[in-house]
Amino acid sequence: MKDQGIINKPARSVGIVGYGAYIPRYRISGTEISRVWKGEALRGPVKEKAVAGPDEDVITMSIEAARNALARSGINPELLRAVWVGSESHPYAVKPSGTIVAEAIGAPVHIQSGDWEFACKAGTEALVAAMGLVGSQMGDYALVIGMDTAQGKPGDALEYTAACGGAAFIIGPAEEALATIDAQYSFVTDTPDFWRRAYQKYPEHGQRFTGEPAYFNHVKSATSTLMESEGLSPEDFKYAVFHQPNEKFPSRVARQLGFKPEQIKDGLLSPKIGNTYAGAALVGLTAVLDIASPGDRILVTSYGSGAGSDALVLTAKEALLERRSAALSTQDYIARRTEIDYALYARFRGKIAMK
């Protein structure tokens, strides 16, 4: 096998053969949260965020997104060889989310299944693993999901953005792809900017430390290394999607890397749905796939605290045009909204102590 250096390109070329988003219907605005915690309606880091209903969790939402992905792929779920869910809000500490999702969507018993955890990049990490599985021809199709019902401590800065939602992707051979995955690079260091210890309900974070040495260093390093290695520059991309914990960070990192606002606007959903953590960059990608034309090159760079970034170069293919209408678009989910107040939000998200 030839030495490929540090850029991941599997032996067999792979791509996305199906994709699907899921964003729950409820929304709470930043002004409503600040009304409760600051005594006045102040504008927050995002306009509003998506909130899961009382009967939803990472597993139910993963099933919704997976069904959308399957619908677009047109493949029989019996052909899946992996069902991997990346999240930092798996309902169980011990017991996989993946097995429940697999059974619900009709995946066979001879699959790989396991839950992935790497803060907000657990979903893209699973996607890179699926590239390896399909790319090595161990299997033809793998389902990967990035989904979260993110936790933000009441009153903390995170509460304004920590949102619910995510996306599912079926990775398969490039010939069948709606979009090929042309190259991938990951950049990982031990940077403790955000964490949640076992048995803790809410995460802690390093305030300003989450910016420059964490998000910006990793997103920029991963993206620029991949672009340089592939001989690509920002103009070569029609779309770019960055992990989006708020509106400011992805906008700034895009500017610093040389991308223009029109390249990121379609994949930048955080102002309307908040930060869906493991789902954030991936759900942004679904919104781009909903509108991309064949030949469009797409950059995706995730970021997970702790810390690392996965950067991917994709190219939209002809098959996208006919298959994307097989499921609800991401913008359909964003438009489907019911605004709630803080009291309902507190009930839905289990923030009221009942015993």
Binding site: Q207, R208, P213
Partner: protein, 388 residues
């Protein structure tokens, strides 16, 4: 000036940029400044290190800095000890170095101020900062340095009815001077309207009233003229006056909370030692931890009468070309306030001024400089007079 103190001179200076040094440890920051000062002196080797630091034992869980920092700077075995006086630690370390050389006990002493503040955040850093106040009677009540400064500022507004907007001049001048300081944390200009629109951090203080706490290290190598390395050709900067004065720690134990006696006395004594009057100095590196500190420092030094320090907050008065230039490289407000290192940044900057090496920040014809470092609400005050 008598021969005794004119003998103590600053032979070398070094500093790191002030800011959020997330990738650099306490020991490495200190080493960078120390090695720069030794190099600047032409390779003079200090026999003793006085390390100005406030927070390392709590924020970095590191005490015993004498051993740590001498070893990490290639000075293993040298005398080394921490000097702590809250955010006047740097000024206090310089005074110890001055005394050591003045006494003849050593030929060369190095004062280094180092602070690694950004290792802690939130309530933890607030509680560590509050260590500069009276633990039993002030911080136990929830007071922090900023909240106490806010209460005093409120009292100042009540007592003297100053024009609230006039205080904008302090951060405005500091930021204007920081623009050309490559080591400043916020080298950006500030407009009066920015000050008026600034986020209120309390009842009376806003974001631009308070200096940003930061990481950094600065060092000054002190020696006598006869021990300077051969071929040393820099302008000689002398420490001609030095004084450290303490006040009652708790504000409530003082006769007037808005008169900072230690601040006044330290300047009086340092100037008397130097044989000069405060009005004779060409610039004043003051301790503008907040605009209240700036105001009361100017009053304590005698540049303004009680209740009138704020009237000096104009570029024409305190700017580089003004009557009494302050914060000539940005001061605590815009260069940044690395707590125990701040007093040595002042000494480094004053030395640059007196050597004529201050570049665009040069106070024209500067021959005599006054620097003052305050601990907490001036419970410790250290003043030095430097002369070319």
């Amino acid at each position: 000036m008598d021969q005794e103190h004119s003998d103590v001179i600053i032979a070398g200076i070094g500093q790191t940029p002030v800011g959020e040094h997330w990738k650099t440890s306490l020991r490495s920051l200190a080493a960078e400044a120390i090695l720069a000062a030794i190099k600047d002196s032409g390779g003079l080797k200090p026999q003793v290190l006085y390390i100005g630091n406030m927070l390392s034992a709590s924020a970095s869980r590191q005490a015993n800095l004498g051993a740590l920092i001498t070893e990490n700077t290639g000075l293993t075995g040298a005398e080394g000890v921490t000097v702590e006086a809250a955010d006047a630690s740097g000024g206090a370390a310089l005074r110890m170095a001055y005394i050591a050389v003045l006494s003849g006990a050593v030929d060369a002493a190095l004062a280094v101020g180092v602070e690694k503040f950004t290792d802690v955040i939130g309530p933890e850093s607030d509680s560590f900062l509050a260590q500069m106040l009276d633990a039993d009677f002030e911080s136990a009540q929830g007071l922090t340095p900023l909240s106490l400064a806010g209460l005093l500022f409120q009292r100042y507004l009540y007592e003297y009815s100053p024009d609230r907007k006039a205080f904008a001049g302090f951060p405005e001048v500091a930021h204007a001077n920081a623009v050309t300081n490559p080591n400043a944390m916020f080298p950006r200009a500030l407009r009066a309207q920015d000050y008026e629109k600034a986020l209120q951090t309390g009842e009376v203080l806003n974001l631009f009233d308070a200096a940003p706490y930061a990481d950094g290290a600065a060092a000054v190598l002190v020696t006598r003229e006869d021990t300077l390395p051969r071929g040393w050709d820099k302008p000689v900067v002398r420490i001609v006056g030095s004084s450290l004065v303490t006040d009652r720690l708790s504000i409530h134990d003082r006769s007037d909370p808005l008169i900072w006696d230690a601040a006044r006395l330290s300047i009086e004594r340092a100037c008397r030692k130097a044989g000069v009057m405060p009005k004779d100095v060409d610039f004043f590196e003051y301790h503008d931890a907040t605009t209240l500190h700036a105001t009361l420092s100017l009053e304590a030094a005698g540049f303004a009468s009680q209740g009138q320090g704020w009237m000096l907050a104009k570029p024409a008065v305190i700017g580089l070309d003004g009557q009494i230039p302050v914060a000539t490289f940005g001061g605590l407000k815009a260069r940044g306030h690395p707590l125990g290192a701040t007093g040595l940044y002042q000494a480094v900057e004053a030395t640059l001024q007196l050597r004529g090496e201050a570049g665009k920040n040069q106070v024209k014809g500067a021959k005599l400089g006054l620097i003052q470092s305050l601990g907490g609400m001036a419970a410790t005050a250290v003043a030095h007079v430097l002369s070319r």
